[in-house]
């Protein structure tokens, strides 16, 4: 369960961004859309605890993320949140398997192999990430995001760099992993291809200094 109420954020020397109230069940997919610059990534970072809100509450399964201290946020993020980025970020010097095991809160390597099988990347485990194609890299990113059995999966433009085939695969895999982990999936995107087959969709629109929901 994810609840967002009265949430707003302000970067220094920038207008305040106000976000709509949002609720999302576990095992459900929430799509947050909008043109760039209206705070999609900011919302994602607020949910991930990478930045702190100006106002409002973010509650994930009874945990008030906005009230945690900086180190508690790091820990909460490590234990309960999985993030998939637009670009596939990896530790270049480590193998795919070690990248899966990167987090201090990641499960064992047998779990990594199990997840890799689910995402059909088990044959790449000993390779370096930059030897893989973009679609394969994104699947590794998804695998890494669920290594800690997260309650919340955050995906930031996970498909924008992919072709239609891979785009569909990645969306399905994200949904599949959200089901397996009983997690809430939040996808932030401007990719029109993701419109169908999601439980809930919210569009953020910039009006002067405020983003609000339709």
């Amino acid at each position: 369960m994810l609840h967002i109420t009265d949430l707003s954020h302000q970067y220094s020397n920038s207008p305040k961004i106000v976000f709509p109230d949002i609720s999302a069940e576990k095992n459900s997919t929430l799509l947050i859309k909008g043109a760039s610059g209206c705070g999609k990534t900011t919302l994602l970072h607020l949910l991930a605890g990478l930045i702190s809100p100006l106002n409002g509450e973010i509650i994930l399964n009874e945990n008030k993320i906005n009230e945690l201290s900086a180190s508690q946020k790091d820990r909460f993020r490590g234990e309960h949140i999985g993030i998939v980025f637009q670009q596939s970020y990896f530790i270049k010097s480590l193998s795919v398997l070690d990248n899966l095991l990167l987090s201090p809160y990641a499960g064992s390597s047998s779990k990594a192999i199990q997840i890799a099988k689910r995402l059909n990347i088990q044959e790449f485990l000993s390779q370096k990430p930059n030897q893989l194609s973009l679609g394969q890299q994104q699947r590794v990113s998804i695998a890494r995001a669920v290594m800690n059995t997260p309650q919340l999966i955050l995906a930031d433009e996970p498909t924008s760099a992919l072709d239609d085939k891979n785009c569909k695969d990645v969306l399905n895999l994200l949904k599949q992993e959200a089901q397996v982990n009983e997690a809430t999936l939040v996808i932030v995107t401007h990719d029109q291809r993701l419109d169908d087959s999601v439980n809930q969709s919210i569009e953020l629109k910039p009006i002067k200094d405020v983003c609000y929901a339709d």
């Binding site: 990534t41 900011t42 970072h45 991930a48 990478l50 930045i51 180190s71 790091d74 820990r75 993020r77 490590g78 234990e79 993030i83 980025f85 637009q86 670009q87 970020y89 990896f90 530790i91 270049k92 010097s93 480590l94 070690d98 095991l101 990167l102 987090s103 201090p104 809160y105 990641a106 890494r144 800690n148 930031d156």
Partner: protein, 475 residues
């Protein structure tokens, strides 16, 4: 509750293991940068290591050999040369002194122990030294086999001489003239090995010891210039032993010139041919094996030990002013030598220190310049739950690993270098340098680690303070 704490610790342990693994992988991922850092470090470390080791061992060895020698008396000349030759046997002697004159000194009531020595020939580059039994006791030399020389032409081998020459008890060998191998072999006088010493880690290991009479015998026979007619007289004197005769003063002088002439051979190898001819002529002239009155003969030096130090304060001055001989306090000369060596090694240490500093700077540059390209990796680490201090740790580990690897390879290189230096020094000076670990090297290790930490501190600090959200938002 305890289970929770255990789980927590386990998690931290996992974190550290992963951080160290990442630090290591990052270093070998960009090998060229890392190799540069490591090379600079290893050169600096190995130079300092070698200098420290050589200085330390040289001082140790010189002090060990100096044991209980308060005063060295020999012919006039360079005091340092006298000490180097008479105590350490790594230089040519300054000349010879008259045995009778030396004996006056040896019988001085202030002297507790006096050891006369006469330089003989050499055997395979090892000096044959005419000496008394006291010398062996001074260095607490124990016999591994055999016994002390009891009569002329018997020899006791130092441990290293025995090891390299493979001579055994009962074997005979010939000395060759001077210190240089294979110059002129005294093939009429064979030494017989009667004893082999245990290792003493002192200068004794590199010596062939015999009694002084043997040295006289070999040299008298080959280098005496006395006409044959005088020989009868000489042998008679020998039988009468301590008999003194004014008329012998003249011959003493002759001897002195002869022996000084011998010593010159070592410096001027070109005289070889000429000397050989001379010797042949002499051999034709003389065939006897007699020793004339010992008092008329020369020795090379005397090692003195005082009864009490204070009582003999005036002794060196007396010897230097009133006699033909020179007295040197070896400890002073050795200190002077180390002072002079110290100036050189200090300069080299500064240079090597500069190299290590440069290495630290290159570690800094490599880590710092890579921060930009690694910012996404670092942000990724934060997003999967690493704390800012873990990133600080990661970069510190990388600096430490580079420093550690540099130190280890520097240590290895210093040992390899020392092996070759030691081999050369053994040939040239009979000095051996071992590769044992000494305390100063621990300080060097700490210095290297310190440099590694300082060099990575600023990049690590920047990594710790990075704005994860802003980095991830950059497109």
């Amino acid at each position: 509750m305890t289970l929770l704490i255990k789980a927590l610790n386990l998690n931290r342990l996992k974190t550290y293991a992963m951080l160290i693994k990442m630090a290591w992988k990052n270093i070998i991922h960009k090998p060229l940068n890392s190799i540069l850092c490591v090379c600079l470090l290893l050169f600096g470390v190995s130079i300092i290591s070698v200098l420290i080791l050589i200085q330390h061992q040289l001082e140790q060895k010189f002090e060990r050999d100096l044991e209980n020698i308060d005063l060295v008396v020999g012919a006039k000349g360079s005091p340092l040369q006298l000490v180097l030759s008479a105590v350490y046997h790594i230089d040519a002697p300054t000349g010879n002194i008259n045995f009778a004159e030396a004996k006056n000194l040896m019988n001085n009531p202030m002297v507790e122990e006096a050891i006369p020595m006469a330089y003989g020939d050499s055997y395979h580059g090892y000096r044959i030294l005419g000496i008394t039994e006291d010398y062996l006791n001074k260095y607490s030399a124990q016999f591994r086999e055999g016994h002390i020389f009891q009569k002329s032409m018997q020899a006791v081998l130092g441990a290293k001489v025995a090891r390299t020459s493979k001579l055994k008890i009962g074997d005979t060998f010939y000395g060759s003239h001077g210190q240089v191998e294979g110059v002129h072999v005294h093939d009429e006088h064979a030494y017989q090995v009667v004893g082999i010493l245990e290792n003493t880690n002192s200068v004794v290991d590199n010596l062939v010891l015999t009694n002084i009479e043997s040295v006289w015998e070999v040299h008298n026979d080959n280098h005496g210039h006395e006409p044959e007619a005088e020989e009868a007289q000489h042998s008679k004197n020998h039988e009468e032993h301590e008999h003194h005769d004014d008329s012998e003063n003249e011959r003493e002088h002759e001897h002195k010139t002869n022996h000084e002439h011998e010593n010159n051979h070592k410096h001027e190898g070109n005289h070889e041919h000429q000397t050989k001819q001379e010797h042949e002529n002499e051999s034709k002239l003389k065939k006897s094996k007699t020793i004339h009155n010992p008092d008329s003969l020369d020795i090379t030096a005397v090692l003195l030990k005082y009864k009490t130090r204070n009582s003999a304060m005036g002794m060196p001055r007396y010897i230097n002013q009133q006699t033909n001989m020179q007295a040197v306090i070896p400890a002073l000369e050795v200190n002077r030598l180390f002072y002079m060596l110290g100036v050189g090694t200090t300069t080299l240490k500064w240079i090597a220190g500069g190299i290590i500093f440069m290495a630290g700077f290159s570690v800094f540059l490599v880590l710092y310049s890579r921060l930009r390209e690694r910012q996404y990796e670092l942000a990724l680490m934060r997003s999967v739950g690493y704390r800012p201090k873990d990133l600080l740790g990661l970069l510190l580990y990388e600096g430490l690993l580079l420093a550690g690897i540099g130190y280890i390879f520097g240590w290895l290189l210093s040992r390899i270098g020392l092996y070759f230096i030691s081999r050369q020094a053994e040939n040239d000076f009979n000095l051996h340098f071992g590769g044992q670990w000494i305390n100063e090297e621990i300080s060097l290790l700490f210095l290297t680690i310190f440099i590694g930490v300082v060099a990575s501190l600023l990049p690590a600090w920047k990594a710790m303070r990075m704005d994860v959200s802003a980095t991830l938002s950059k497109q």
